[in-house]
């Protein structure tokens, strides 16, 4: 995933936002205005063996409301009260999913539209889709 990550600024910045969703789960056990930022690096990575069908379209969750912020997106999953931040490429993938594109077509679209798309784009997008599915944000169409 390194190639698709971008940092908030130069080196030594603690927070890394990646193509993967960054979960912001409302913490129930503490005062309720505090939400907990679960940094991606502290999360268990997606199971890459979980079957992501790269040829079939996926349906985005109706319980996920979104806000587009420039070329990024924040999702709020109302079933889990969890927020997810999508970086620009994650946003492209999300938009393509909503349009009904199959993952392999999304990979092609990213290669065509992102100037410095890495060689690992297929694997990265597959891992991203696995995480979206794992969090209930997409399901097989």
């Amino acid at each position: 995933m390194t190639a698709l990550r971008y940092r908030l600024a130069e080196a030594n910045c603690e927070h890394v936002i990646s193509l993967n969703p960054v979960a912001l789960k409302i913490a129930n056990s503490r005062a309720c205005w505090h939400a907990k930022l679960a940094a991606h690096r502290d999360q268990k990575g997606p199971d890459l063996n979980s079957a992501v069908d790269m040829t079939a379209p996926y349906i985005t969750s109706a319980a996920a409301i979104e806000s587009r912020l420039g070329d990024e997106t924040v999702l709020l999953d109302l079933t889990s009260s969890t927020y997810f931040g999508l970086d620009p490429i994650g946003t492209i993938v999300w938009e393509q999913l909503k349009a009904g594109a199959a993952p392999k077509d999304i990979c092609h679209h990213v290669r065509e539209t992102v100037a410095d798309a890495p060689d690992t784009v297929e694997a990265d997008i597959e891992a991203f889709l696995a995480q979206l599915a794992e969090n209930g944000l997409i399901r097989r169409g």
């Binding site: 603690e14 936002i17 309720c32 409301i65 924040v74 999508l86």
Partner: protein
């Protein structure tokens, strides 16, 4: 200063809260204040009660009501209220947010000590307008741990208790304006590994989630309130520059930190004037 009464929220005894025909409570929201105290809020009757396993002192009751519950009630009424400090400057108001213990009060107190008007040290109401976002305090306060008082305000005449459960003390201070146009939000992150001071612009998605994470909600998992807060935070993130601050928690670095904060604020002002 906004009080619960002025906002038409009323503190009552627990047994005065709404009950249904079978004697159970209906329409109440339980909002946990801390491990020992819960606020029961009747949002229809606009009444609330503090429920505690042990008696609360007058200071503590006032603290829970004004500092911890009132911001949630204001948020429930449809406003974006940040858990943070606010100082005014020639570059506009600067807001400092972050988890408890990250140093918001110390940083805002140090800026106040350096000559900048303190608007709030804990709760900031953000309101969009035609000319930008204004930031308003809910109540004037400056509360610091004893070590911060000793370092920043060694000549303080008197300090007062905040609540039974904390050693923080309340200080008198020259109140600045009630509100000002806000120019930037700074999120107090953890110190950088190399000990350097860093002021890093946050991308909008991260800024939005940071604002949500540091804002008040009466019932964070309530769908309607969550959607409302999400929309407010997204708009704020698009219209207010948000930075991540990394710095050693050492009083000696505060002057250099102030300089970098104002350098960032100056850059914003330059960009907005273009």
């Amino acid at each position: 200063m906004l009080s619960a009464e002025a906002l038409r929220w009323h503190l009552v005894f627990e047994n005065q809260l709404n009950t249904n025909e079978s004697g159970g409570r209906s329409g109440l929201i339980a909002s946990k204040i801390n491990d020992h105290v819960t606020a029961l809020v009747d949002v229809i009757a606009r009444q609330f009660a503090l429920v505690s396993a042990r008696p609360l002192s007058k200071d503590t009751t006032e603290h829970f009501t004004a500092d911890l519950l009132l911001p949630r009630l204001v948020a429930y009424d449809g406003h974006l209220v940040l858990h943070g400090g606010l100082v005014n400057s020639p570059r506009g108001a600067l807001c400092f947010i972050g988890e408890s213990g990250r140093g918001k009060s110390t940083l805002t107190g140090s800026l106040h000590r350096a000559g900048y008007a303190l608007i709030s040290d804990d709760a900031v109401l953000l309101q969009p307008g035609e000319a930008g976002y204004s930031a308003k305090r809910l109540y004037p306060s400056l509360r610091l741990f004893p070590d911060s008082i000793e370092q920043l305000f060694p000549d303080a005449d008197a300090t007062f208790p905040v609540a039974d459960y904390t050693v923080k003390r309340r200080l008198s201070f020259a109140e600045g304006p009630d509100e000002a146009m806000i120019s930037a939000i700074f999120h107090l992150g953890p110190p950088a590994n190399d000990g350097r001071i860093q002021v890093v612009p946050m991308p909008p998605a991260a800024a939005c989630m940071t604002i949500i994470a540091n804002s008040f909600a009466l019932e964070a998992e309530d769908t309607a309130e969550a959607c409302r807060r999400f929309a407010l935070a997204a708009d704020a993130a698009q219209n207010i520059p948000v930075f991540e601050l990394h710095y050693p928690r050492d009083f000696s670095v505060l002057p250099a930190l102030h300089a970098q904060i104002f350098e960032a604020a100056s850059l914003i002002a330059e960009q907005q004037s273009l």
